[in-house]
């Protein structure tokens, strides 16, 4: 059997490309949605500008987590592939990229919807800021859980060695 090391590299590069490509799609939309709804809220309640701005930043920081997880997986695929040769390792690397990339689409959009709607609602009832922020944090974290599962699966696949 000739040396198949290049197949591993091919799979790793394609996986990294898919992971970061799709992994940027979801969170970017989510972050933009959050900022847009926050602006809408700021125009309704000009006095709460600073507090709404901070809530927007908090929500965006949460929503970006899945993008960062995709970045970590892409770097791991490029530079820290782990041992093993052969088609099974190549398939594992490719699948690792698929996993986090596809997951980050949904997680990013969902978290963006959560954070954005939280900002818009907070503008409508500024007295309920703490409650709304807490609901946003919990809701975002729960909806992020499948993204974390996908990240764990990606890492397991990267460090698979036959």
């Amino acid at each position: 059997m000739p040396d198949m090391e290049y197949v591993i590299k091919v799979a790793a590069f394609l996986g990294a490309g898919y992971a970061m490509g799709m992994g940027a799609l979801g969170p970017a939309f989510g972050l933009g949605y959050t900022a847009g709804r926050a602006q809408e809220g700021m125009s309704r309640q000009v006095a709460q500008h600073g507090a709404l701005f901070r809530m927007m930043l908090v929500g965006q920081a949460l929503a970006e987590t899945s993008g960062v997880l995709a970045l970590v997986v892409a770097f791991a695929l490029l530079f820290a592939r782990g041992g093993g040769e052969g088609i099974d390792k190549a398939a594992a690397l490719l699948a690792s990229g698929f996993s986090i990339g596809s997951a980050a689409v949904g997680v990013g959009i969902g978290n963006g919807l959560s954070a954005g709607t939280a900002c818009a609602s907070a503008a409508r009832h500024p007295k309920y800021f703490p409650g709304i922020q807490q609901a946003m944090l919990v809701g975002t974290a729960v909806s992020q859980s499948t993204g974390v599962y996908a990240f764990v699966i990606s890492l397991l696949l990267i460090f698979y060695s036959s």
Binding site: K9, G21, G23, A28
Partner: protein, 87 residues
């Protein structure tokens, strides 16, 4: 296709895969940033039309929101550059 012929082409096949990955990465990654930033800009216009007196605050929020929304697109750019030049 025999495996030995593919073996001699191995460096080129690796490079080909790196380029495909880079194109995939930056191409799809740009979609989200574009949609997000456009949404922010549109909402900013709407908000400014509603309250033109707070133009400065709204403009600053728009710039910050767009810069943050761009960040995952920048991650894609970094991975694509690494794939093209380093890998």
């Amino acid at each position: 296709m025999n495996l030995e012929a593919m073996q001699t082409l191995a460096p080129q096949i690796t490079k080909a895969a790196a380029f495909l990955g880079a194109g995939l990465c930056m191409g799809i990654g740009a979609i989200g940033s574009a949609i997000g930033e456009g949404f922010v800009a549109g909402k900013a216009c709407e908000a400014i039309s509603r309250r033109p007196d707070v133009y400065n605050d709204l403009f600053r929020t728009m710039i910050v929101g767009q810069a943050i929304s761009e960040s995952t697109g920048i991650y894609s750019l970094v991975i694509a550059i690494i794939l093209i030049f380093v890998a």
